[in-house]
Amino acid sequence: MRVALLVTCLNDTLFPDVGRAAVTVLRRLGVDVEFPPGQACCGQPLINTGYLAEAVPVVRGFAAAFHGYDAVVTPSGSCAGCVRHQHAMVARRAGDAELAEAVAATPPMYELSEFLVDVLGVTDVGAAFPHTVTYHPTCHSLRLLGVGDRPRRLLEAVRGLRLRELPAADECCGFGGTFAVKNPDTSVAMGADKARHVRESGAEVLVAGDSSCLMHIGGLLTRQRAGVRVLHLAEVLAATEGAGARAERVS
């Protein structure tokens, strides 16, 4: 099986550790994941802001970059959701039959926890992370993809990890893509409540499956000098005894 990694433009540019962590976990489980260098972005920032016509070349580039693989895996529920639910819409709205065909030929798209649990059939990925964490189920993972308790099951199997309940866990953090800058006041009001709940959980680390949401919540937590850091699920799963998740990514 030829498996491609969609690292996502955000992880690629701002959080390369998340991409490396995903590679580490997948290799540990025997998946020789490849990085198609033609990949850039799934197009979600454009699509969800209403620039669907502008998104056409982005979707076309995406389809070309991943053509021929058996599966694509990505450490982002949001990007997986965009590929699965919005690429066909972009092609249809543009009336571009060729693009619609290319989109239909895109290999199956999996968010990381789905790939690990459903495709590989693994919940214990051999990780160790002796810290108290809480988990935020990001909206697109939770509602658009329906990943359910897969991330939780993966975390529960991590050695030494103590999982704390996050109050009002299924409520949006307020990131919402360009919503965060188009409606910054509302976005921050939502994020402030999320940050408060994270602190109430008593965890040292907030874990989620989307770097975008973590960037927003983490950005609020560091501004508040909250003393809670954020890590992507992939980074926790990549951690092993004696080689913990990188401590420098502190919030």
Binding site: C9, G19, F35, L46, G50, E54, A180, G191
Partner: protein, 483 residues
């Protein structure tokens, strides 16, 4: 009433003002949490809730598919039962029809059943302009009217008020509108309800004309349905001699059986009740019982425009339950006034642009963006309106309507530049080198301050600087970490 939504600023600005109101934030958080919990409990009791939602969506879709036929049938059945049927293209026509009925009978005051359609067309204000006073009789609408306020929720229009504020409004304003509040009124819910009952009772007994909306209109039997909790609506529907009902054309269903599914979905989704306390149905006039003259105004006011929108037309399935408002994290924090319409929250964010069209009004155009697209509304909707999907479609319509204009040109240029960069791995790699330069020049790993428009992020949040070595550069340098 002088309060008006006309001239409201676009959502981000209106929201900023609302977010600063700590009393409002507290009232809303408390009220929405309470009603959410109640809904969750009664929905969980229904094993086949998902099947019921699918059935609800199917019933409404089938009704909308042959809307023209059902409406003609409805008109025929109503007419056969002694009702005068009027057709109104827009708010002005509808208001003129209702005012005309009042004037024909020299009526100067009417009592009103809670109705979104009449709020939508601004009926109370239109009647007042022609010398007819309209009294709201739904408790929450009464609070809004007495407070010279605007509704902020579809089901609970005074949700932004707490008990203490309601008591103040009653004490201050009831006297000018009729029977004053009892002396020594406290803010206990039972005492407040008693004050409203006494105040309204004289209006019910005096009024010669009532105005209602309808939750549903059954074509085959010419039956209108009003669902409520208080019984005040039933007083209006049965006591006065003249009844005028303003009904959005999307309220029609072909058969009485269709109500089976919808009346199961509505109370559980709206008030969190298994069954609503009062369901009034009436099919035209009955000699010796109820009103002696009845009119039905079938209202378009943008509904055919919405119906023409291939994706957006699903919004016409809406049964005005408010479940989407109660679960919306944006609504919970900004409240309803920020949406600048009697239809706030997620459904308002799609319904207003669909009814009124995009590309002409900045406030309307801002509504599809008043959402983080978290999807909680879609999950809660009893008729499965894909609100996030319609929001994205409407955003695209807003962007398309602005193409070639100067409005938001900076955003369009930014987005086109982003598209060019994000369409190819090679170009993204080049952009990353430029971004890496930024990090080296500023020698920062985290930005706490950026000039506008970056300040819209860094005003409250830190932003990590671009990585020293992006993932793709690392992969190329190390052969994917193998070298």
């Amino acid at each position: 009433m002088t309060a008006t939504f006309v001239g409201m600023p676009a959502f981000p600005e209106a929201a900023r003002a609302a977010l600063g109101d700590s009393q409002l934030r507290h009232n809303l958080a408390h009220a929405t949490a309470t009603i959410r919990a109640r809904r969750r409990e009664v929905v969980a009791e229904v094993d086949e809730w998902e099947e019921l939602r699918l059935a609800g969506a199917a019933v409404k879709d089938a009704a909308l598919l042959r809307l023209d036929e059902h409406l003609v049938r409805l008109e025929a059945e109503l007419t056969a039962r002694g009702v005068t049927v009027h057709w109104a293209r827009d708010a002005a026509e509808a208001c003129a029809i209702v005012a005309g009925v009042a004037e024909a009978h020299a009526i100067t005051e009417v009592v009103k059943v809670k109705s979104m359609a009449t709020q939508e067309i601004g009926l109370d204000e239109a009647l007042a302009a022609r010398g007819v006073t309209a009294w709201e009789t739904d408790l929450a609408e009464l609070i809004v009217q007495l407070g010279d306020d605007l509704p902020s929720h579809i089901l609970v229009p005074a949700i932004h008020r707490n008990r203490a504020e309601i008591r103040e409004i009653f004490v201050r304003a009831m006297g000018d509108a009729g029977r004053p509040a009892p002396a020594g009124l406290t803010d206990e819910p039972a005492r407040l309800a008693e004050a409203a009952r006494l105040h309204l009772r004289e209006k019910f007994l005096r009024a010669r004309m009532a105005v209602s909306g309808a939750n549903f209109a059954v074509a085959e039997s010419g039956t209108l349905v009003v669902v409520e909790s208080e019984g005040n609506g039933r007083m209006c529907l049965t006591l006065p001699e003249i009844l005028v009902s303003v009904v959005g054309i999307e309220k029609v269903v072909p058969t009485f059986t269709d109500l089976d599914v919808l009346l199961q979905l509505l109370p559980r989704s709206s008030t969190g009740e298994r069954m609503n306390p009062y369901t009034s149905t009436w099919s035209g006039l009955t000699p010796g019982d109820g009103p002696r003259e009845a009119h039905v105004v079938l209202l378009d006011n943008g509904r055919t425009r919405a119906l023409a929108d291939e994706l957006g037309r699903q919004a016409l399935r809406c049964i005005r339950c408010s479940a989407c408002l109660n679960v919306c994290p944006v609504y919970e924090r900004t409240g309803g006034h920020a949406y600048g319409s009697v239809y706030p929250g997620p459904i308002g964010a799609i319904l207003n642009p669909l009814l009124r069209g995009v590309g002409t009004d900045e406030q309307v155009d801002s509504l599809p963006y008043a959402s983080s697209l978290c999807g909680a509304c879609f999950d809660a909707c009893p008729v499965r309106i894909d609100i996030p999907g319609v929001l994205v479609e409407l955003r695209a319509q807003v962007v398309d309507a602005r193409r070639g204009t100067a409005r938001h040109a900076a955003e369009a240029v930014t987005m086109r530049a982003a598209a060019a960069t994000l369409a190819s791995g090679r170009r993204l790699g080049l952009a990353q080198r430029g971004a890496g330069l930024l990090r080296r020049v500023t020698r920062r790993s985290v930005f706490s301050w950026l000039p506008w428009p970056g300040s819209r992020w860094t005003g409250a949040r830190d932003l990590p600087a671009p990585a020293r070595e992006p993932f793709r550069a690392w992969w190329r340098r190390t052969g994917g970490g193998r070298r």
